[in-house]
């Protein structure tokens, strides 16, 4: 028993330095994972500041921050949760920026026709089969689903499609349904569609058919490292990575 | 009916190689614990598959390893009364009793049921649950359950071993009635000689996985050569006689072939056949008829054989009229009396030396 305790203590001691050396802790929306992992590596290499990133749904992260989680920087996939934190005084004044933009697209399992579809005009030509589903993230709660519902509503399509919609708990799960062919079509972020080779881009929803898709960033603790990380996100190296992943850049370059 | 058993089976610490024939009546496998008795019964029941062997009951081959015949237990039509009863706790006594009848060929009418309830005295227990029964009651129900499955052979593995003396005394009369009335042959396992003496018609004595002596019970029990196997302290012959009278002073008189035997009051009616086990060590011998002695039973006898053992004692086999019994005396006494085959003498038995549990009812074996 005591031997176990000693082992446990050794393990904790071994872990402690890595925790202590992580000078900036970032809470980021899951859809940023691929791009942000590379940017963080670049940041550490360039600035000599270690980063620890926790990826999860924006809502989960925001709630954790409300409960006092030790985040230095928060990158949200929508403005609502950032607004919530701001109202509660949990972000550092003056550090919030609208960092990235994204668009939502109609993704299909089968290859798309040569000429991209125009929505809403070409919606009727989509072949859902007898009871094929339109995969989306949860339309009342998950950002990608909320944007998708807005777009379909403003294009006058929601009424006719709402019974077809299969709501996944996150946008990646919706993407998986299309990728596996369980649902012939789905509404996902442009960045997601780009990341999955089994999914084809059929149409992009007009940007004015839904609220702007904005990824705000802010410091949640006022440290030099947090500010340095935010600045790096807007630097040329980070911008190149974001762009390659399919994001649009909203903030002007430094 | 007859049961014919021949089997060889190797168990940790026991190399079993046994063959015997069981004629009608109660055949008792007798031996110390660990001798292999239960293994034999389990093989007959089909709960154990012997390495080699052939078991035939009433002409039907239950098991023959040579020709690969193996009847599963449920198709053997044997009733098995286990040491611990093994009543089904979730069923009432009635449901336990009728359990086997579900599967018995040609369901019987209520006659049989009533007869067996009566035989075992379990009618009042029908609505109870096994958990609410005493040990003796449980065993009676277990016997009834086995009988009501209409077996062609009843197996009883130490049916009394788990019971205290009082419960044993309660059940033994039922087993005697079973032997005499139920018409089902019984293969019975026991390590208690008193039980064997009361129940067995045939004895198969087993030691270390081998049959060492087999034959009619009265013969085996009265055989001085079998004494070492049966246990010196336990050895004793079984005498059968008619209950002649109940006397006012509390004694019952049993008519043997050469002399009467007086014993404390026996619970049987005048005219009934009784079996009495007389332990060899409770018998004294005298060359002349003693007088002015408290012992009431003085049996004129002739020595048949004297068997010398390892210790200071000898076992003397005697004949009194048609009855054969044993006496255990010291070698010194035997020498002083110059006992040998043909020596006339008297066997002396104290009435109170014969325990109630050693007296049972019984037909001539």
């Amino acid at each position: 028993m005591s031997r176990r305790l000693i082992r446990l203590a050794c393990l904790l001691l071994a872990l402690a330095p890595t925790l202590a050396r992580a000078d900036v802790t970032v809470f980021a929306a899951a859809s940023l994972k691929t791009a942000l992992d590379r940017i963080a590596a670049d940041f550490t290499a360039a600035e000599g500041i270690d980063t620890t990133i926790s990826f999860a749904g924006s809502s989960t992260l925001a709630r954790q921050i409300e409960q006092g989680a030790p985040a230095d920087v928060f990158l949200s996939a929508n403005t609502a949760w950032m607004d919530e934190l701001e109202e509660k005084g949990l972000i550092v004044a003056g550090t919030r920026t609208d960092l990235l933009g994204n668009s939502i697209v109609l993704a299909g399992h089968d290859p798309a026709p040569a000429t991209p579809l125009s929505l809403p005009r070409d919606w009727a030509t989509l072949d859902f089969g007898s009871d094929g589903r339109l995969a989306m993230a949860m339309v009342d709660s998950v950002p990608a689903g909320i944007y998708g519902k807005q777009a379909l509503t403003s294009l006058g399509l929601w009424e006719q499609v709402q019974d077809r919609v299969a709501q996944a708990d996150n946008v990646r799960a919706a993407l998986a349904l299309v990728s596996l062919g369980e649902a012939p079509f789905g509404i996902v972020y442009a960045t997601d569609a780009k990341a999955d080779p089994n999914v084809h881009l059929w149409a992009t929803f007009p940007t004015d058919s839904h609220d702007p898709i904005v990824y705000p960033a802010a410091a949640t603790r006022d440290t030099a490292e947090a500010r340095a990380f935010l600045a790096f996100l807007n630097g040329p190296a980070a911008r190149a990575v974001f762009e390659a992943a399919g994001f649009t850049l909203l903030a002007p370059p430094e | 009916m007859s049961l014919s058993v021949a089997l060889a089976h190797r168990l940790p610490g026991l190399d079993l190689d046994i063959a015997f024939e069981a004629p009608p009546g109660v055949t008792t496998l007798f031996g110390r614990s660990g001798a292999g008795k239960t293994t034999v019964v389990n093989a007959v029941a089909g709960l154990l598959r012997p390495d080699r062997g052939r078991i035939v009951a009433e002409g039907e081959v239950l098991c023959d390893t040579e020709s690969g015949i193996w009847l599963p237990p449920h198709r053997r039509r044997l009733g098995y009364v286990f040491q611990e009863g093994r009543l089904f706790p979730h069923l009432s006594v009635r449901q336990n009793l009728t359990y086997g009848r579900w599967f018995a060929p040609g369901r019987r009418d209520g006659d049989d049921f009533a007869r067996i309830l009566d035989l075992l005295g379990i009618e009042p227990l029908l609505t109870r649950r096994p958990a609410a029964l005493s040990g003796g009651e449980k065993q009676r129900v277990a016997i009834g359950r086995a009988l009501l499955s209409r077996p062609r052979l009843l197996l009883m593995d130490e049916p009394l071993a788990a019971l205290d003396e009082a419960r044993k005394a309660e059940i033994l009369p039922y087993l005697e009635r079973l032997r005499d009335e139920a018409r089902v042959p019984i293969l019975h396992v026991s390590h208690a000689l008193a039980e064997v003496a009361r129940l067995a018609t045939t004895v198969v004595a087993i030691q270390d996985g081998r049959v060492i002596r087999t034959g009619p019970a009265a013969e085996v029990l009265a055989d001085p050569e079998a004494v070492p196997a049966l246990g010196v302290r336990e050895a004793g012959a079984v005498l059968t006689g008619r209950l002649a009278a109940h006397h006012d002073d509390g004694l019952s008189e049993i008519a043997l072939t050469a002399a009467p035997l007086f014993l404390p009051r026996i619970a049987a009616s005048v005219g009934a056949q009784v079996r009495v086990r007389i332990a060899a060590q409770d018998v004294m011998l005298a060359l002349e008829a003693p007088r002015s002695i408290s012992a009431l039973n003085i049996l004129p006898a002739t020595v048949i054989a004297v068997r010398q053992g390892q210790g200071p004692g000898v076992v003397v086999q005697l004949r009194s009229g048609e009855d054969v019994f044993l006496a255990r005396v010291t070698r010194r006494s035997a020498d002083a009396m110059n006992l040998g085959p043909g020596t006339p003498c008297f066997g002396i038995v104290k009435s109170v030396a014969v325990a109630q549990s050693d007296v049972g009812r019984g037909r001539q074996p």
Binding site: W81, A166, Q167, E182 | H74, Y80
Partner: protein, 231 residues
């Protein structure tokens, strides 16, 4: 507290339906698997044991994904069942029931297995000598005696099925009235700022149902145990 909305009532009703059928259909295979694990000796016994416990070990999302791969309309089993029996799981409540059944299966098997292991095999032997063949022994002795465990396992499975979320949403997603179960509804509410109050109401409903199921199971188990023990 405001009354529940029709959509919330739908979710509650659907959850009860899903949990009920999930429990009912997993009982026969659950009893079979428990019996096999408790009593049979066969090669691959440990493999079966591992397989049964897999949903307990895997993240629910992975289980859901594997179900999607296997029982989806394009999955090998799913396609076969659809063509042969017209049975569709994908995006149907039947799929939610399948996911719930798979997730609850290990709990059910464990409870039943324990109750089988508590039965003295000598009683089954005794039934055999009375003329009962193996299936009869099982039906008349083993099954009634393991009843307390079966009840406990079934209720445990029911409660687990009521609360299953991860595998369900991954496999059949969240379609109001079709596959939106209570946990899905709670999850959806928790994703929007200010949804906590509404979520809490549904959580209360869940807790009440789970507690009722638990109490029912205790009561039934005690009764059955008493019956089996013959008191």
């Amino acid at each position: 507290m405001t009354p529940l909305t029709p959509q919330e009532l739908d979710a509650i009703a659907l959850s009860l339906k899903v949990a009920f059928w999930a429990t009912l259909f997993s009982l026969p295979p659950g009893i079979l698997a428990a019996h096999a694990l408790a009593r049979w000796q066969f090669p691959g016994r440990q493999l079966l044991n591992g397989l049964v416990h897999l949903p307990l070990i895997l993240p629910p999302v992975v289980t859901g994904y594997l179900l999607l791969l296997t029982f989806g309309t394009r999955g090998p089993v799913g396609a076969f069942l659809q063509e042969t029996f017209g049975l569709v799981f994908a995006f149907r409540w039947t799929g939610a029931a399948l996911a719930a059944a798979i997730m609850a299966f290990p709990l059910m098997v464990r409870a039943i297995r324990l109750s089988i292991e508590a039965i003295d095999p000598k009683l089954e032997e005794a039934a055999g000598t009375l003329g009962a063949s193996r299936p009869w022994v099982f039906a008349t002795i083993t099954l009634p005696m393991m009843l307390p465990g079966v009840i406990a396992g079934a209720i445990l499975a029911f409660a687990k099925a009521m609360g299953e979320f991860g595998a369900t949403i991954t496999f059949v997603s969240n379609i109001p009235g079709q596959t939106q179960t209570l946990p899905s509804a709670i999850y959806a509410l928790l994703q929007v700022p200010g949804g906590e109050a509404a979520a809490l109401r549904l959580v209360l409903v869940s807790v009440v149902i789970a507690m009722a199921a638990l109490l029912l199971s205790e009561w039934l188990s005690v009764r059955a145990a008493r019956r089996v023990a013959g008191r």
